[in-house]
Symmetry: C2
Subunit: 234 residues, 2 copies
Amino acid sequence: MADSDPSQMGERRRGSGVKMVYDLLRDEIMNLELAPGSAVDEVQLASRFGMSRTPIREALVRLAAEGLIETLPNRSTMVSNIDFLNLPAYFDALVLMYRVTTRLAAQHHRGVDLGIIRAQQAEFSKAVQAQDALAMIATNAAFHSAIAAAGRNSYYSAFFERLLNDGRRMLRLYYQSYDDRLPPRFVEEHEEIIAAIEARDVAAADRLGKVHGEQIVEQIGRLLTRHEGIDIEL
Amino acid sequence: MADSDPSQMGERRRGSGVKMVYDLLRDEIMNLELAPGSAVDEVQLASRFGMSRTPIREALVRLAAEGLIETLPNRSTMVSNIDFLNLPAYFDALVLMYRVTTRLAAQHHRGVDLGIIRAQQAEFSKAVQAQDALAMIATNAAFHSAIAAAGRNSYYSAFFERLLNDGRRMLRLYYQSYDDRLPPRFVEEHEEIIAAIEARDVAAADRLGKVHGEQIVEQIGRLLTRHEGIDIEL
DNA sequence: TCCTGATCTCTTGTCGACAAGAAAAATACA
DNA sequence: TGTATTTTTCTTGTCGACAAGAGATCAGGA
């Protein structure tokens, strides 16, 4: 909330400014520190970061390309609202990508991948024990991102990553209202997923990915909407 | 190829410049009028479009966000190369999205959708008869985009659209070297797909989407790489 | 000839200033 | 008091200029 961050005010390397602004705003938006619908002012950001509007603008253009902010021509820029109308569609896509990425990881993972996945799972487990909702959401996403990376399909990875990021805001909203408790079952399910991947058991990976995804959908979606559930054989 | 387009040089509405540059460059890149690897110069574009570098830059940032151009820091900007290494991954994703979008269209399409889809199919058929490869690629993509839109899942639509756009460059390359002939079978398959959607036959839509996707993969992929083929039940 | 270092050139990255567009505020008028 | 119209204000969109980085070129020495 400080007007400016002194540690960032010194000499900056040319080109680093946009990335810094982009990363920071992205985090603030996804963690709901910047509320959906709240205004994003270029000059304000410029003075906050001690730079001109040009690099700020570039960061905003990138955020807009990802759908995280919206611009009203000539008028204003604001943080995108969370689209609850499309929630069933979102859940369909999410569950399918859970399945596909887990399945591909079982097929294509190599030596280093399991170590990375296990490290993310350790982080996730730690966050669950600490009841830290923000960390749970972030580490859960990182865990599944690592699995997607092991699947060696950059198209799926990119799409999945985007879905997870979109979901972070909704999940945050959910956990905010339910007091940060999350069933330890998720931790166990993660372990089962890891085992299936390690055993290269594609069918099990697929099934576990589906169950795990639907688990989360159940938790969040039941209250908000009737979920249809696509039933597709891969 | 003209240095500048006089019809576009008059008074422009504020904000329309970026869109125009973005759309045009996007088209030129996807139609291979701008070769992969070729340089993209900001000042050159600025003089070509009769505007300053700022709006050009914004358009380029957006193209970069979509992966259509790549930026070497402080040095240069160029049209992205086509990634032939990831072709199997690309085909997997493409076939899956063919299936998913066709299937969802069979489930969720409404009155207006079929008309739009049929219109696109008519365009496609016309392009095939005219042996116009560029038009075939574009109208085929539009046909499947229309189907995806009828499926009412914006996450899938956006992802699929992106895959189709990525594919346009590869397809163009392919047809360039094979003298623009394309089996009329594709037209028939499109008809079958429309019929399945209209009949709300989800299983048939799924199967036809898969077959149709694999058909295209076969045509293009066989020469370039061994295709693995994901076999997943939806 | 080949390596090393300085200089040059070319493109991008950043800046401050100004203009345009749209909403909000203020004013005029019945 | 209510409404139409003008003015103000606030934010974004665009511009031209300058600086920095990184390769390319060139000069000098072995």
